[in-house]
Each structure stands twice: as structure tokens, then as C-alpha cells.
């Protein structure tokens, strides 16, 4: 596909046109990670410049989406509705390497794969998502996650947490521990509390839910708290950092959450652990001491390793939250910028939007939006734009936003996976 600019160049160059055209189209891009950011980046690269060789490295055959996975906990949705394959990515002309990336050599511009192959690239797009900092919360490791699920990567963990809730006696206490910023999906723990409360109200009406938080404030806080008071009075208790909510260790054998002030024994314990960029980011040298990946705000190229771009939850994106919407938006901007850079042109400053819906009940939605632009080396909120749903609304505003949320999920998954 020739852009108008390239077309003009082609016309002017007349006799030399074929050489110019082919030189512009050559390029090998490897994308590591097939979530909302990576799958979007791979498909968009091929759509913008079909002559690129684009390889997506992703070990899983099926992607399980986190947005709406709290609906699975509330039994209003099945895990199969969260799952998407890569047929659409392949149809877009992307080569799928169904294996893990085990090493990146930024100097040699190669990615080593678990199957023993090595891919060379002209530009690398890394979208490794998150991994957990198992060492950060004493008592919580991969074995503990089988007793106290995180369910913060959707899939088997989501199903496990749902099964535990269903097996719980009526009257049992559900405890959620919520981490300090930054982490994947800032409003997610509170949407989860809401939808579990919705389900408890129907099936386990004597049960209560406790949120132990390592923060004093959270996304859409007043909207959530007003809705909890309205829909689930007396069910959800939130303990902030300054009230002693920070969990300092857990005991998976007894499902106990330990804080500086108390020990909370849960009937069902959901630990949302501290997080970092997906492990390959550190191996590639694109993660800094925070565990996340600093990038410049135009093409999202790593400030630590030239030629490597990082998008999605793994990247430090200034004011933009770690959301599926943001990952998809960043990936599209990054793909366009990579096409420009490979053609020897300078990418223009982008504008990006984020929109995050949360469900407080299946028919009660709230949202937060923002618009972002590069400013002083970071992606910054445009002042005066964005914000949350109003605290006071009339008519069917909340149910309308729940419908928008559902349509958004259908759209973003189609945008990402084809």
C-alpha cells in the first residue's frame, strides 16, 4: 500500500521509481507479545506497510482478555467469551512464531526464541505485558497463587477464583489486597470488589468483602464508593493505606492477610500482587530499576535501548494508565511511527486517547477518559480534557455506560485480533 507521500515521491522520481519503492518497503519488524498492544502493533504494521516482514512472537495459542474478566467472577459471563485466537493476525499477513522469546540482543538486533530459532530485526516492538514481583510480598509465590489466586492475568486463575467463591459458605469473608501504583488496570480491583459484591448479594447474602489497600486513593473512587453505598450497603469495606490497609505478608496455608495492625483470615483470598514489566523486558535491557520500561513519547522507543519500542502495560507512559484501550492506542501510534522511521522519515507528534469503563453492576457502568500528547519528554494529560463520569446523573446514564462498555469490548477485541 503506497501512501500519498510515497506516491508523490514515486511520481517525481519517475525512472527511478521501482528502486525507491522497494527500498522504502523493506524492513523486518519483530513484535514480542500478543496481547492488546502486541497483536494490534503487528496487524497495524502490515496494514500500513504490507511489504514489511512482521513476526509476532507469542507462546499462547489463545489469548484470554482481562477486561470483563471480573464479569466471569460474577458468573454473568463465561471465560470462553474472553478468549481470542490469532487467525486474524495471520490473515493480516503477520508471521506467527508460536513460542516464547528468551533473549534479545539489542546490539546485534536479534531475538532468540525458546524453539532455538533466532530472528533478526530492523526494529523490535516489545509488548510483554506484566509479570508479578513474587519477591515483593512475603509468603506470596506461584504456589501460593493456587491457594490465593491473583486472577490478574485472566484465564485459569480467573476460573479458580470463581470456583472458590462458589464453594464458599454463605457468611464467609472475601478479602482482596490491592497493590500500590503503578499496576495493570488501576480501577480493576474496585470493579472486581463491586462485581463480587453483586454476586454475593444474590448467592451469599451473609458474606462481606474487605479490600486491603496499599494506597490512600484510587481511580473513580467517589463513583465506586457512592455506588457501593447505594447498591451494596454494608457489604464492601475499604481499608486505605493510612488506615493500615497495606498487606505486608500472606499465609496461603490459612488464607491470612497480615498488615501492620491486624491479621485477616479470609474464606476466599484474592491477592493482586505488586507488578513489573513482563520478564523479557529486563532481559532485553529496556526495564529500569522500577521494573517498568521508560520510552520517549512519540514513537515509544526505549530510552535505554535504541531500535526497541515498548508499548502497553510494560511501558512508562506518563499520564496514560495501564489499560487495554491505552495499549491498543499506543500500538497503533507506534506502528505508524515505526513505518515512518523505517522509511527514513520523522514521525509526527501523536495525540492519544484513553477510555476505561468499569462495571459496578452488570447494568451500572462508570468511565474515565483522558487525552494525551508529548510534553517535555513524556506523554502528558491535556489539561481541561478527560475526567470521570459525573457523580450526579439523571435517567439511564449508568446503564447506558454499561452498554457502551460492552460494545467497547467487542470493538477493541475486533480491532486487536481481527
Amino acid at each position: 500500500m503506497t501512501t500519498r507521500r510515497a506516491f508523490l515521491k514515486l511520481t517525481v522520481a519517475a525512472g527511478l521509481a521501482p528502486a525507491v519503492a522497494s527500498a522504502q518497503g523493506t524492513g523486518r519488524v519483530v513484535v514480542v507479545g500478543g496481547g492488546f498492544a502486541g497483536a494490534t502493533a503487528a496487524r497495524t504494521l502490515k496494514a500500513l506497510e504490507p511489504r514489511l516482514t512482521v513476526t509476532l512472537v507469542e507462546p499462547n495459542r489463545i489469548f484470554t482478555a482481562c477486561p470483563f474478566s471480573n464479569d466471569v467472577l460474577a458468573a454473568v459471563r463465561e471465560i470462553s467469551q474472553q478468549q481470542f485466537g490469532y487467525d486474524g493476525v495471520v490473515r493480516a499477513g503477520v508471521t506467527l512464531a508460536q513460542t516464547a522469546a528468551t533473549a534479545v540482543d539489542a546490539a546485534a538486533k536479534t531475538v532468540t526464541l525458546a524453539d532455538g530459532n533466532r530472528l533478526s530485526y530492523d526494529r523490535l516492538v516489545m509488548a510483554p505485558g506484566i509479570d508479578f514481583r513474587w519477591e515483593a510480598l512475603p509468603g506470596y509465590d506461584e504456589a501460593a497463587a493456587e491457594k490465593m489466586p491473583h486472577a490478574w492475568k485472566a484465564g485459569a486463575q480467573t476460573v479458580l477464583l470463581r470456583q472458590q467463591l462458589q464453594a464458599m459458605d454463605d457468611g464467609g469473608l472475601v478479602v482482596i489486597s490491592s497493590p500500590a501504583n503503578p499496576y495493570r488496570c488501576p480501577p480493576g480491583p474496585y470493579e472486581r470488589a463491586s462485581l463480587i459484591a453483586y454476586w454475593l448479594k444474590i448467592w451469599k447474602p451473609k458474606s462481606k468483602l474487605l479490600i486491603l489497600d496499599s494506597k490512600d486513593a484510587f481511580s473513580k473512587q467517589r463513583l465506586f464508593q457512592n455506588a457501593w453505598a447505594e447498591l451494596y450497603p454494608g457489604v464492601i469495606e475499604w481499608v486505605s493505606l493510612s488506615q493500615g490497609g497495606k498487606v505486608t505478608s500472606v499465609d496461603p496455608a490459612t488464607l491470612t492477610f497480615v498488615t501492620d495492625f491486624a491479621r485477616h483470615k479470609a474464606a476466599v483470598g484474592n491477592v493482586i500482587p505488586p507488578q513489573k514489566a513482563g520478564a523479557i523486558a529486563a532481559l532485553a535491557g529496556v526495564a529500569d530499576r522500577t521494573g517498568w520500561c521508560p520510552v520517549e513519547p512519540v514513537a515509544f522507543e526505549s530510552t535505554l535501548q535504541p531500535g526497541i519500542h515498548v508499548v502497553g502495560d510494560a511501558a512508562i507512559m506518563g499520564g496514560m494508565p495501564k489499560s487495554a484501550f491505552a495499549a491498543n492506542a499506543q500500538a497503533k501510534v507506534c506502528a505508524a511511527a515505526v513505518v515512518e522511521l523505517l522509511a527514513g522519515r520523522k514521525p509526527v507528534d501523536p495525540l492519544l486517547i484513553n477510555t476505561c469503563y468499569s462495571l459496578v453492576a452488570p447494568d451500572y457502568g462508570i468511565s474515565i477518559a483522558g487525552v494525551y500528547r508529548p510534553d517535555k519528554g513524556v506523554l502528558a494529560d491535556i489539561p481541561g480534557a478527560g475526567g470521570t463520569s459525573p457523580l450526579e446523573v439523571v435517567g439511564g446514564y449508568r446503564s447506558q455506560e454499561a452498554l457502551y462498555a460492552e460494545s467497547w469490548f467487542k470493538t477493541i477485541t475486533a480491532e486487536t485480533f481481527g
Binding site: V333, E406, T411, I412
Partner: protein, 102 residues
């Protein structure tokens, strides 16, 4: 594929002003436009309550954005989003979506 055209024919088309015709390429999307498709997808989404904007009249899209921005047209997220865009950015995005296949 335009690149397959003979240079002479391409020049003739350019002179005739047809180089501007045809669907706008995604690569030419103005700043902000690619984020819009997170909700307003390029392809048709069954059972979506979010309106499609690809192929709509440029002036209709631009007017809607301005009215969302001013609050003249009530909205949920669109008013908050439109406040991040100035008139020229709105016009460029509206023109680009108008040129996309319906």
C-alpha cells in the same frame, strides 16, 4: 495498487487531481484518529451501540465533536474527549474518517 501504475499514467492522474482520490490511507491518519477506532472501529461490529463514524460526512463529524466539546450536545465520554482537541485537529480527524470506507 498505485505503485504498479506506469509513471506516465501516474503523472497524468496526479495532474488530473486524482491522486487525492480514493480512501485515505491509515498511514496518513492525523494525530488522534487512530485512538478513535478503539471504540469507533474500522470494521462493522455486530450489536454495538457505539455509532460508526467511518464514511460519515466530514462536516457532521466535526459539528458533533464541537457540540460535544461545548456541551451543547449531551454525551458521556465524548464531551470529555473532545475537550482535548482544537478545531484544526477536529477538522483533520473528521476529514480522515469521512474518507474511510463506510
Amino acid at each position: 495498487m498505485r505503485r504498479l501504475l506506469l509513471p506516465a499514467l501516474a503523472s497524468a492522474l496526479l495532474l488530473a487531481g486524482l491522486a487525492e482520490g480514493g480512501p485515505a490511507r491509515a498511514a496518513d491518519a492525523p494525530p488522534g484518529a487512530s485512538s478513535c477506532t478503539g471504540c469507533h472501529a474500522a470494521k462493522k461490529i455486530p450489536d454495538s451501540v457505539i455509532p460508526r463514524i467511518a464514511g460519515r460526512k466530514s462536516s457532521d463529524i466535526a459539528t458533533a465533536m464541537r457540540e460535544y466539546r461545548s456541551g451543547a450536545w449531551p454525551s458521556s465520554v465524548m464531551g470529555r474527549i473532545a475537550k482535548g482537541f482544537d478545531d484544526s485537529q477536529i477538522d483533520a480527524i473528521a476529514a480522515w474518517f469521512a474518507a474511510q470506507p463506510e
